[in-house]
C-alpha cells in the first residue's frame, strides 16, 4: 500500500502543476496586473506611478511565463509562474495582495467552516443511512412511498429557500436560535444549530434516495436470504449484513468529500455570518486578489487528491478482496 500511496503522490505533482498553469492562464486572461493594482489600491485617481509601485512591491512586474530580459535558465525561472508555483509546492501561500498572511488566514477560517461542515456531514450521514434503512425495512409500504415523494420534494427546492425559511421560522417567528452570527467554544453552539439542521435537512432527499437504492440492491442477495434463514431479526440483517456490504459504494461517495469539508460552504456561511473559508475564494476573485485565488485553487486540488487516495485506502478496510 505504501508504494501505491507514493505512486499516487507522484502522479499528483503534474496534476497540480497543470491546475496551477490553468489558474494562471485563466486569471491573467481576465485581469491584467494593472487591473489588479487598480482594484487593490482602491483610489479614486490611480496614477501610473502608483500602479508601477504596487506591481513592483507585489512582484507582478515580472513576465508571466517567459522573461526575455533574463539570461539562461532564468528566462523561465525568473517569471511570475515559476516563482509563485514553487512556493505553493512548499505550502508557502505567501501574503495576499491586501498584505495578509494567507496560510494564517486559512487556518483561522478553517475552524468555523469545520464547525458547520463536520457536524452537518456526520449527522447527515447517520440520519440518511438510518432513514434509508428504515425505508428498506418498510419497503413497498405507504411509509416508503410517501417518504420517497417527500424526498423528491425536498430535492426539488433550492437550498437557499431552506435557509431563508429556517431563519424566518426558527429565529424570526419562534425565536429559538440567533438568525446569524458566530462565536468560539460552547458559546457558539447556539449559532451552529440552525445551519447544521438546515444542512442536514436540505441533503435529506438526495441522501436517503441514494442510500436506499444502494441497500435495495443488497436486500435480495443470497447472503441476506441466508441471514434471514438463520432466524436473524430484520433489523439485525439490515444493520449488520446489508449495511456492511453497502459500505463500498457509500465510501466512494463519502470519503472523497471529507477533505473538502475544510473548504466550507459559500451560501451557508454568507447567510449565517460564519467567518469560514466558503466565501474566501469568491471574495478574492471579486477583489482580484490573485495570491489568494491561486492558493485556494491549489489547496482545493490537493484536498481532492487526498480525498481520492483516502477513498482507495478505505476500500481495503471494508473489502478484503481489494489490495493496493
Amino acid at each position: 500500500m505504501f508504494a501505491y500511496i507514493i505512486r499516487r503522490v507522484l502522479y499528483a505533482i503534474p496534476i497540480l502543476i497543470g491546475v496551477n498553469l490553468i489558474t494562471f492562464m485563466l486569471f491573467f486572461m481576465l485581469n491584467s496586473p494593472d487591473d489588479m493594482a487598480r482594484a487593490q489600491l482602491g483610489a479614486k485617481q490611480t496614477t501610473p506611478a502608483m500602479i508601477t509601485a504596487w506591481k513592483a512591491e507585489k512582484g507582478y512586474d515580472k513576465p508571466l511565463f517567459y522573461n526575455e530580459k533574463a539570461l539562461g535558465i532564468e528566462k523561465v525561472t525568473d517569471t511570475l509562474f515559476v516563482q509563485e508555483s514553487l512556493k505553493l509546492f512548499a505550502f508557502d501561500f505567501g501574503r495576499s495582495d491586501a498584505n495578509r498572511d494567507i496560510g494564517r488566514e486559512i487556518r483561522e477560517r478553517m475552524g468555523p467552516s469545520l464547525s458547520i461542515a463536520l457536524p452537518t456531514f456526520l449527522i447527515a450521514l447517520v440520519t440518511n443511512i438510518s432513514l434509508a434503512l428504515l425505508l428498506v425495512l418498510f419497503r413497498g409500504s405507504m411509509l416508503d412511498l410517501s417518504m420517497m415523494v417527500a424526498a423528491v420534494m425536498i430535492m426539488s427546492v433550492s437550498g437557499l429557500f431552506y435557509i431563508i425559511l429556517g431563519q424566518v421560522l426558527f429565529s424570526k417567528l419562534w425565536h429559538w436560535v440567533p438568525i446569524s452570527g458566530y462565536a468560539h467554544g460552547w458559546e457558539g453552539v447556539k449559532f451552529i444549530l440552525l445551519p447544521v439542521f438546515i444542512g442536514v435537512f436540505a441533503g435529506l432527499g438526495s441522501g436517503v434516495r441514494w442510500y436506499r437504492a444502494i441497500f435495495l440492491e443488497q436486500i435480495n442477495q443470497d447472503y441476506v436470504r441466508t441471514a434471514r434463514a438463520k432466524g436473524l431479526s430484520e433489523i439485525r440483517v439490515l444493520f449488520t449484513h446489508v449495511l456492511r456490504n453497502g459500505m463500498l459504494p457509500i465510501l466512494t461517495g463519502v470519503v472523497v468529500i471529507i477533505p473538502s469539508l475544510f473548504m466550507g460552504s459559500l451560501i451557508m456561511e454568507s447567510f449565517f455570518g460564519i467567518p469560514g473559508l466558503g466565501s474566501y475564494t469568491i471574495d478574492a476573485i471579486n477583489a482580484q486578489d490573485f495570491a489568494i485565488v491561486k492558493a485556494m485553487v491549489f489547496l482545493g486540488s490537493v484536498l481532492y487528491i487526498v480525498g481520492l487516495i483516502l477513498t482507495d485506502i478505505s476500500y481495503t478496510l471494508f473489502d478484503p478482496r481489494v489490495t493496493l
Binding site: 482602491g42 502608483m50 429565529s171 419562534w174 429559538w176 438568525i179 447556539k190 447567510f271
Partner: protein
C-alpha cells in the same frame, strides 16, 4: 435517532437557559445589558493603516480611532470645519515667490503656510509600542522569537504605555505618505501642493527599497520634507504651493492623523508581520475609541479610549439650529463630555435578510433599508413623500433621510464623433437625449424614490448648489407654477431634428441613429434597467445598443475613450464645489492623462476651464458663486452628462438610539451617539420571547412517530415468525 434528537434539544435548552431569558440573542446576556452599540458591516475592511485606507467601510472604524487635526462639526449645516487636535483653526499666511508675506488677495501669492498649534492634552490609547523598561528603552522594541512564537494577538503583550502627541507625529504621518511602497492613494494629489514632497518621496522611496533589501527597519525620523517643519513640540508648519483653500479639508482626513514613530518601528518587526499584526490591522490612535478586536471576517470591536482628551457634544445657537434644521432632541446633550458609548460591536453581515431581521428583533440599533425590506418599512404618500409604515411606528422606529453629497450620471464621451463635439448640432443631440431620459421615473422605479433628479454636477449641501427656479437646468426643465417640470418629448424631438436626426433618422445617411451604451450591468437583475435605458432612447427613435462587459474592460474602455455612453458616479471627498466641478475640467480629461484623470467624459470647454481655474482657489464669496453659476450654465448648455440623480440615504433607528444626525462628511460620529441600554434590553426581551408550543408539538410528534414505527416493526416481525408458516398475525 431518538437519542440524537433528545440530546440536541437538551443541549439547546442548556445553552438557552444558561445564556439568557431570550434564546435567539447573538450576544451574551452581560453584553446586552451594557452601554454597547450593536452595528454591522457588509464587507471586511481591508486596510486600517491611515496612510493607505480610503474606503467608507474602513473609515467607519478608522475615524473613531485616529484624529486628524480638523473635523466637521457634527450638527452644523452647511458643513463647517473645526479644530479637533488643534487649539484653533490653522493660521494661514501667504508668501510671495521670495518667501515674503503678502496679502491673501494679492496676485503674488506663491505659497501658503499653514501653522498648526496642537492641544497639549492629547494622548495615544495604551499600546505595547509605548511600553518602556525601567532604563527608558522600549519594552517591545525587539521582541524575542520565543515571545513571538507564543504571540497570537497584541493582547498577549501585557505591558502597555502611552505618551502625548507631538507635532513630530503629524510630520511622521506625512513622511509615511511619501513612501511609495506604502501606496498612499493621495500622494500624487499632494505632491503638486506640499513643498518638497516630490523630492522627498523619490529619496525616501529609494531608501525604503534599500532598507527592505537589507531587511532593515525604516525609521523616518532622520528624514525631512522641506515644506513640513516641526517648529516645536506643539507646532507644525506645512507650506504648500500657491493658494489651495481645500487643503483644510484634507487636514480633516485620516491621512493626516498622527503616527507615533514607536508604533511604526514596532510593527516593522518581521515576526509580527507574519502574524498579520501590523499598523494595517492594529491601529494606534488618539481618538475616542481603540480597536479591541479585529476579526474582519466576523467582528470588529471598539472600546472607549481611557486616555481620551476632553471634548464636548456641540452646542448651536438658535440661528445655527434653524439653518441646520436640527431638532431640540439632538441638542439635549449639548455641552456633555464625549463619548457616551462604552463599546461598539460591529458584526459582519453579508446578506441583507439576516441583517434586517436582527434589526427588527432589536439586536442592531440602526439599519439601512434594503430593496427587499423597503415596502415593509416605508410608505410612500400620495404626494410622493416618504413615511414609516405602521409596523415600524409601533416598534418606535424612526426614519432619518438625507440627500448625499454624491452624483450618479450618464456621460457622453465628448471625444466621440457622434455624441461628442461642441458644434450646435452635436450639442442639440445631447440636449435632446437629456430631456428624453426620464430621471424621475428612474428614481421611482429603480430607487424606490431614494434620489433627487440632478440639475447639475453640484449636489445639495455644497456651495454652488441652488434650489428653486435659480437652481433648475433650463435645458431640460421649465419652471411652471412654482415647481420644475421636465420639458416635453416634442421639445426633445425638435432638438433632435435640428441636430440632423429627424425622428432618429440621420438626414445625411438616411439610417437610424444607433448609439452604444457600455455597462458592467451584466446580471439578470439588470435586465429591467437596460430595457428602461433602451426605452428612453427609443422615445426619440434612437436605437441603443447595450455593450455589457466586465469591470476591468469597462474601465479600460473609459480610460482610452473607446466608449460613447456610460454611467458613472462620484462621492464628495470634501464639501467644496471644486471637488465636483473638477470632474468636468479639461485638464483632467482621462484620454489626455494616461487614464489618471478624473474627467471621464473628456469634456473640454476653454471658458469653463478658465472659470474653473479661478474658482478653484477662491473662498466661498458671492463672486465665487457668480462664477460657479456661469460654469453651470456652460455645462448645462454643452450637456456632457445627463445629470442623473443625487442619491438619498434612508436610515432606521430604534427608540433607544439617540443623537443620530446624518452627516455625510464626518466619519468620527460614534462619540456623539448615545444608547439607552435598559430600554433596549426590555424591548429585546419583549420582542424575542421564545415560542415553546411549536417545540412541544414537534417533540410530541417525534415521540409518537417513533412509537408508531416501533409498533409497525413489531407487527411485521411477528408476521414473519408466525408458527403457522403463513404471513399474517399469529
Amino acid at each position: 435517532m431518538f437519542l440524537a434528537v433528545r440530546s440536541t434539544f437538551l443541549l439547546f435548552f442548556m445553552v438557552a437557559i444558561l445564556d439568557a431569558s431570550v434564546w435567539n440573542s447573538p450576544y451574551s446576556e452581560t453584553l446586552r445589558r451594557q452601554n454597547v452599540l450593536f452595528s454591522s458591516f457588509s464587507s471586511p475592511p481591508k486596510h486600517l493603516d491611515p496612510v493607505l485606507s480610503y474606503n467608507a467601510n474602513e473609515w467607519a472604524i478608522l475615524s473613531q480611532i485616529y484624529e486628524p487635526p480638523l473635523q466637521y462639526n457634527y450638527l452644523k449645516r452647511p458643513y463647517v470645519l473645526e479644530p479637533l487636535s488643534l487649539t484653533d483653526m490653522p493660521e494661514v499666511t501667504y508668501l510671495d515667490r521670495l518667501g515674503k508675506e503678502v496679502d491673501r488677495l494679492s496676485d503674488k501669492v506663491s505659497y501658503s503656510r499653514y501653522r498648526l498649534y496642537l492641544r497639549e492634552d492629547i494622548r495615544y490609547a495604551p499600546h505595547p509600542a509605548f511600553a518602556r523598561n525601567s532604563n527608558g528603552t522600549l519594552r517591545y522594541g525587539k521582541i524575542d522569537w520565543k515571545t513571538l512564537d507564543s504571540l497570537e494577538t497584541l493582547n498577549d503583550l501585557k505591558e502597555r504605555g502611552s505618551r502625548r502627541v507631538t507635532a513630530e507625529d503629524y510630520a511622521y504621518a506625512i513622511k509615511r505618505m511619501a513612501v511609495r511602497q506604502y501606496h498612499s492613494p493621495i500622494l500624487d494629489t499632494m505632491i503638486p501642493y506640499i513643498v518638497g514632497l516630490r523630492a522627498f518621496s523619490k529619496q525616501i522611496t529609494a531608501v525604503a527599497k534599500d532598507k527592505r533589501e537589507k531587511k532593515e527597519v525604516l525609521d523616518l525620523r532622520p528624514y525631512h520634507i522641506r515644506g513640513v517643519k516641526v517648529i516645536d513640540r506643539n507646532t507644525l508648519e506645512i507650506t504648500i504651493r500657491g493658494k489651495y483653500p481645500q487643503f483644510l479639508y484634507w487636514l480633516a482626513m485620516n491621512f493626516f492623523a498622527p503616527i507615533p514613530w514607536e508604533a511604526d518601528l514596532f510593527y516593522q518587526q518581521e515576526g509580527l508581520q507574519a502574524k498579520n499584526i501590523s499598523l494595517d490591522t492594529t491601529p494606534v490612535g488618539t481618538g475616542a475609541y481603540y480597536l479591541a478586536e479585529n476579526n474582519p471576517n466576523a467582528r470588529m470591536r471598539l472600546k472607549r479610549n481611557p486616555l481620551f482628551h476632553t471634548e464636548y457634544y456641540p452646542s448651536l445657537s438658535l440661528i445655527e439650529q434653524q439653518a441646520a434644521g436640527i431638532s431640540e432632541a439632538l441638542l439635549a446633550d449639548s455641552g456633555q463630555p464625549l463619548p457616551f458609548i462604552d463599546e461598539a460591536v460591529y458584526s459582519l453581515e453579508k446578506e441583507s435578510i439576516p441583517l434586517w431581521n436582527k434589526f427588527l428583533q432589536g439586536y442592531y440599533d440602526a439599519s439601512g433599508i434594503s430593496a427587499e425590506a423597503f415596502d415593509q418599512a416605508v410608505q410612500i404618500g400620495s404626494s410622493g413623500s416618504m413615511g414609516l409604515s405602521e409596523a415600524m411606528k409601533q416598534q418606535g422606529i424612526s426614519l432619518i433621510s438625507a440627500v448625499q453629497p454624491s452624483i450618479f450620471y450618464m456621460a457622453f464621451n465628448m471625444a466621440d464623433p457622434v455624441v461628442g463635439g461642441y458644434s450646435v448640432a452635436q450639442r442639440k443631440l445631447r440636449q435632446a437625449i437629456s430631456i428624453a431620459q426620464d430621471q424621475e421615473e428612474y428614481i421611482s422605479i429603480f430607487l424606490n424614490g431614494r434620489g433627487v433628479a440632478a440639475q447639475g454636477p453640484i449636489p445639495p449641501g455644497i456651495f454652488g448648489h441652488e434650489e428653486g427656479k435659480r437652481g433648475i437646468n433650463p435645458v431640460v426643465y421649465d419652471w411652471v407654477e412654482g415647481r420644475r417640470v421636465r420639458k416635453s418629448l416634442a421639445v426633445a424631438k425638435r432638438l433632435l431634428a435640428e441636430a440632423g436626426y429627424p425622428g432618429g433618422i440621420s438626414a445625411k445617411t438616411g439610417k437610424r441613429l444607433k448609439l452604444y451604451y457600455d455597462t458592467t450591468a451584466t446580471g439578470p437583475d439588470d435586465r429591467a434597467l437596460m430595457d428602461w435605458r433602451r426605452k428612453q432612447f427609443a422615445k426619440l427613435g434612437i436605437e441603443l445598443v447595450i455593450r455589457a462587459t466586465d469591470y476591468n474592460r469597462f474601465q479600460e474602455k473609459v480610460r482610452k475613450g473607446k466608449v460613447q455612453l456610460f454611467s458613472w458616479g462620484w462621492n464628495a471627498d470634501y464639501p467644496d464645489p471644486e471637488n465636483f466641478l473638477f470632474l468636468l475640467y479639461g485638464g483632467n480629461a482621462v484620454i489626455d492623462t494616461n487614464g489618471a484623470g478624473i474627467n471621464s467624459a473628456n469634456y473640454k470647454n476653454p471658458e469653463f476651464d478658465t472659470l474653473f481655474r479661478e474658482i478653484r482657489t477662491m473662498e466661498n464669496t458671492p463672486e465665487r458663486l457668480a462664477k460657479i453659476e456661469k460654469m453651470l450654465q456652460i455645462a448645462r448648455e454643452d450637456a456632457p452628462w445627463v445629470w442623473g440623480f443625487y442619491p438619498k440615504s434612508l436610515v432606521l433607528v430604534h427608540s433607544w438610539f439617540k443623537n443620530v444626525s446624518p452627516n455625510a462628511m464626518a466619519n468620527n460620529t460614534l462619540k456623539y451617539k448615545r444608547i439607552d441600554p435598559r430600554t433596549r434590553y426590555v424591548k429585546q426581551e419583549l420582542w424575542n420571547r421564545p415560542a415553546v408550543l411549536p417545540l412541544l408539538i414537534m417533540i410530541a410528534a417525534a415521540v409518537l412517530g417513533l412509537l408508531w414505527l416501533y409498533r409497525a416493526y413489531r407487527k411485521s416481525e411477528e408476521a414473519v415468525i408466525s408458527p403457522a408458516g403463513k404471513e399474517g398475525k399469529s
